[in-house]
């Protein structure tokens, strides 16, 4: 076995050298930022266009407009009729999709590396020349309503999450669901989309991220050719919409047909760029890993394997968003167990950070996990592009993706304790409980003959 291990150690050295990442950055005159990361493992390329717009840019009455616009981006320009975009990408062997979040709307294609120009030509075209036909909008907004029914209306936990956000945040636009309220979708007009498109879809409000088997200079030249002629737009400064200080615990109950209760807790927390101390968001990241960084972490160890009250439990915090959010905890019980007990256990885990320093073993384990994850992340060009695009779009620097490991490694047990004492307090807390209602009428009815299963 020794021979094996010796050789493996050598491999590490050689390979680490071989995959040294190369990131290059260039800004076109019209303001479009182009970021290229070389990855020559496979003859493919991922190309992503990120716009600085999402549900947190919206206001009451037009919620969901960013996401509906994302759907309409596939509905044609003067040059390419509705549906043509997807057909061209498919015929070139590409895969494509788009996604909308609170802080961004992004479009991507993954293709063989010699087809990058196809992606650029089409993305540049729809950045400024969307036609937004009324009849296409009328159909597509119905598709989005079906999407809302599927993702939210008929999913009791998603409904709880939506109501939780709507109630926990006061002024922050993070209270707005990305998919929009149903009544706003019902009332949406194609004119709302036209205005939204003109306002945000411009080269100076976008980032183009390319990762794959490409040469940066060639990509910059190609970007100049297709995106260079586009005109910049005057983009308004966003209003701050700062969340006021919370003054006491908030509780919500959501009643929906369901089989199982569910509890969701959130403490208001700062993010990178908006914290009192620069290390605070990293300390919160560390705290969240100590709770839920794998099945040896505290939540699984104590609530699932320990008291055995919870069947599923998670902690979630993101240091990388445009506006301050929450550190969230959620859980579902083992059948028959009391959800109130689980809530108390979750809060006890939070309290423990305030009285007891996190052990050096736990800190070391998290550090080793994120170091390994940084290596594993090189296996996906898509994920590497996501990291860069997301950071740039929330107003941070893509270099943070590489510095993240060092920042997190520097967090001390005392700092974890300090952020727990400062932010994870009852006055900052919101709690939502899903209260399961009977699922009446769940019975089977046979309408025509045939054989029965078991």
């Amino acid at each position: 076995m020794n021979r094996l291990l010796f050789a493996v150690a050598l491999t590490l050295f050689v390979s680490a050298f071989a995959v040294q990442a190369q990131v290059h950055e260039h800004q076109l005159k019209n303001g479009l930022k182009v970021i290229v990361k070389e990855d020559h493992r496979a003859p493919i390329v991922v190309s992503q266009v990120w716009y600085k717009v999402g549900s947190s840019y919206e206001h009451g009455g037009i919620t969901g407009v960013s996401h509906v616009l994302e759907h309409m981006m596939f509905k044609g320009t003067e040059k390419h009729p509705p549906g043509e975009f997807s057909r061209i990408i498919a015929a070139n062997g590409g895969s494509e999709n788009a996604f909308t979040g609170r802080d961004y709307t992004a479009y991507f294609q993954t293709m063989s590396k010699d087809r990058l120009h196809v992606s650029f030509e089409l993305e540049a075209d729809r950045m400024r020349n969307l036609t937004l036909p009324a009849e296409e909008f009328a159909k597509e907004v119905e598709v989005v309503k079906e999407e809302r029914r599927m993702r939210t209306e008929d999913k009791p936990q998603s409904l709880t999450y939506e109501q939780f956000n709507a109630g926990a945040y006061e002024a922050s636009p993070y209270r707005i669901p990305v998919i929009g309220w149903m009544s706003d979708l019902d009332a949406m007009q194609v004119e709302d989309l036209q205005a939204w498109y003109r306002k945000w879809y411009a080269p100076n409000n976008a980032t183009l991220v390319v990762v794959g088997d490409v040469e940066p200079e060639a990509v910059f030249t190609l970007a100049e050719k297709h995106f260079g002629p586009l005109k910049a737009e005057k983009v308004d400064r966003l209003k701050p919409r700062t969340e006021p200080k919370q003054r006491g615990i908030k509780r919500f109950v959501v009643k929906a047909p369901a089989r199982q209760p569910y509890v969701l807790l959130g403490f208001k927390t700062p993010v990178i760029g908006k914290a009192d101390e620069a290390w605070e968001p990293y300390a919160l990241e560390m705290l969240s890993y100590v709770l839920d960084g794998g099945s040896s972490a505290r939540l699984t160890r104590n609530l699932i394997r320990g008291t055995k009250n919870a069947a599923a439990v998670d902690a979630d915090y993101s240091a990388f968003s445009r506006l301050p959010g929450m550190l969230m905890l959620d859980a579902t019980p083992v059948p028959g167990k009391d959800i109130a007990k689980i809530e108390a256990e979750l809060l006890a885990e939070v309290e423990r950070f305030k009285t007891e320093l996190v052990s050096q073993d736990e800190l070391a384990r998290v550090r080793n996990q994120i170091v390994a994850a940084k290596v594993f992340e090189k296996d996906s060009v898509f994920y590497q592009a996501m990291l860069i695009g997301r950071l740039e779009t929330v107003g941070l620097d893509w270099r943070l993706a590489d510095e993240y490991v060092d920042h997190l490694k520097a967090v001390t047990a005392e700092q974890v304790q300090q952020v727990a004492r400062k932010y994870l307090i009852e006055d900052n807390l919101s709690v939502a409980n899903l209260d399961p209602q009977p699922m009446d009428g769940v019975k089977q009815r046979r309408a025509a003959g045939g054989r029965h299963g078991k």
């Binding site: 050789a7 209306e153 047909p257 199982q260 040896s296 390994a372 089977q444 299963g453």
Partner: protein, 439 residues
């Protein structure tokens, strides 16, 4: 994060193994361990990491009368093994940044790890995986905890109209065949499972001749051989699981409605499809790509979503298994539109079975499948999954290399003929889950 389509569904729909190749696939090396496990290996020296996936013919098709026993057995592997408790196993792996996942479906059950190739990390990971496979404890306490977790998961399924419908579809299509039940089993069956049954299931199925080891990473052939021996060397040789019973064809159409307090109706249409290695596989794959396997540009998407705005997701696919998996179509739409959407779905299928593809449709499909080949083998995680499937189903090792040629050779006549012979629109199972009153 909202998304234009659903990635999970797309994965299912595309059936990633069915890809085409303009370029050559990776060169696959194969051998057997001393105790008789098959190994498939591809070197990937660029990143200092390795993926090892061990797959057993131990899915729920092997449950026998104890529905859910294979799934619970698989789950319990990592909940205590050798000298280590569940917490100790997780701690060992997470201390070195590795991950260990287990899972099971109808045909297969697996355990897979991803580790850095750095010496201490790799040693720890491989030793842990070896213990998990060869010395699981199946302690009563762990069993009870995981039983409860499974029961909780089954309750979650019951509050989902989609999962409810899909489960019912399988029951109606497969009847008494072992594919009829979801791998987790049922509430009643899971409650009744005993430790004795789990230990017996483990001894019967987790043996070397029933295993396939897939390795992709920054290790050379010698290292890979040592890894395979180390990981499965502790298993008894045993025997490969026997052949599964064949799947009876449906004699007539079945229509069933399940009343559910949801705003949408989930509609599932299906029948037994084809097994891995079926001679009609290439024409059916390319044909289905056109019908409902290519996302937004498929015929179903065009008719249901693009033209009429009836659903967010609509798809069709052939699920390939040891015995014929499902040919399935599905969509979700608000209750009042359920009948209309179902009509469009079945009309589109009927028309496609009758007419077959146009020349332009066939060309576009071939371009997409063959042009997209490099994407499908672009990461270690994708390649290790290919290896697992190629090895598990005994597909030829040049499967990927040969694929493009076979896709290119498919004709419109072959597609039409295969669909007419293999897809029977008059003998489908249709399940609708939703509120009847609004429909």
């Amino acid at each position: 994060m909202e998304s234009k389509f659903i990635s999970k569904l797309l994965l299912l729909t595309l059936g990633w193994l069915l890809s085409g190749s303009l370029l050559a696939g990776p060169v696959i090396q194969t051998w057997q361990t001393a105790n008789g496990a098959k190994v498939l290996y591809v070197p990937a020296p660029e990143i200092p990491m390795v993926d090892v996936r061990v797959v057993f013919d131990a899915g729920s098709a092997r449950d026998g009368d104890n529905l859910g026993v294979t799934s619970l057995t698989n789950t319990l592997l990592t909940e205590g093994a050798g000298d280590w408790s569940a917490n100790e196993i997780s701690e060992r792996l997470e201390n070195v940044g590795s991950s260990l996942d287990t899972g099971s479906l109808r045909d297969m059950a697996w355990a897979s790890v991803r580790s850095l190739t750095e010496q201490h990390a790799l040693n720890t990971t491989l030793d842990t995986l070896a213990a998990v496979l060869a010395q699981p404890r199946f302690n009563t306490e762990d069993l009870e905890r995981e039983r409860q977790a499974t029961l909780a998961s089954l309750l979650q399924d019951e509050q989902s109209p989609g999962t409810t419908g899909k489960k019912r579809l399988y029951h109606l299509v497969y009847g008494d065949h072992p594919y009829a039940t979801d791998s987790e089993g049922t509430t009643a069956s899971v409650k009744a499972l005993t430790r004795k049954e789990i230990v017996a299931t483990y001894k019967r199925l987790y043996v070397a001749r029933n295993a396939l080891v897939a390795i992709v990473g920054a290790v050379d052939r010698e290292q890979a051989e040592a890894i395979a021996e180390r990981v499965v060397g502790g298993l008894k040789s045993g025997e490969h699981s026997p052949k599964l019973p064949s799947v009876p064809t449906l004699k007539k159409a079945v229509v069933e409605t399940i009343e559910f307090p949801s705003t949408q109706s989930h509609i599932y249409v299906g029948q037994p499809g084809i097994r891995r290695g079926d001679p009609d596989y290439f024409p059916l794959y390319v044909g289905n790509h056109i019908l409902g396997g290519s996302g937004l540009v498929s015929l179903l998407s065009e008719e249901v979503r693009e033209k009429r705005g009836l659903a967010y997701s609509v798809y069709s696919y052939f699920l390939l298994m040891r015995q014929p998996g499902l040919f399935q179509m599905g969509l979700q739409t608000k209750n009042s539109q359920a009948q209309q959407a179902l009509q469009v779905l079945t009309d589109t299928l009927l028309r496609f079975v009758e007419d077959g593809p146009t020349k332009a449709q066939l060309t576009a499909a071939k371009q997409n499948i063959t042009g997209g080949f490099p994407l499908r083998i672009s990461s270690n995680s994708k390649i290790v999954e290919y290896l697992a499937v190629i090895g598990f189903y005994n597909l030829p090792l040049d499967y990927l290399d040969a694929f493009t040629g076979k896709i290119e050779a498919v004709t419109a006549d072959q597609i039409r003929s295969a669909f007419r012979r293999r897809v029977h629109p008059d003998r489908m199972v249709m399940v609708r889950v939703g509120k009847k009153d609004e429909g």
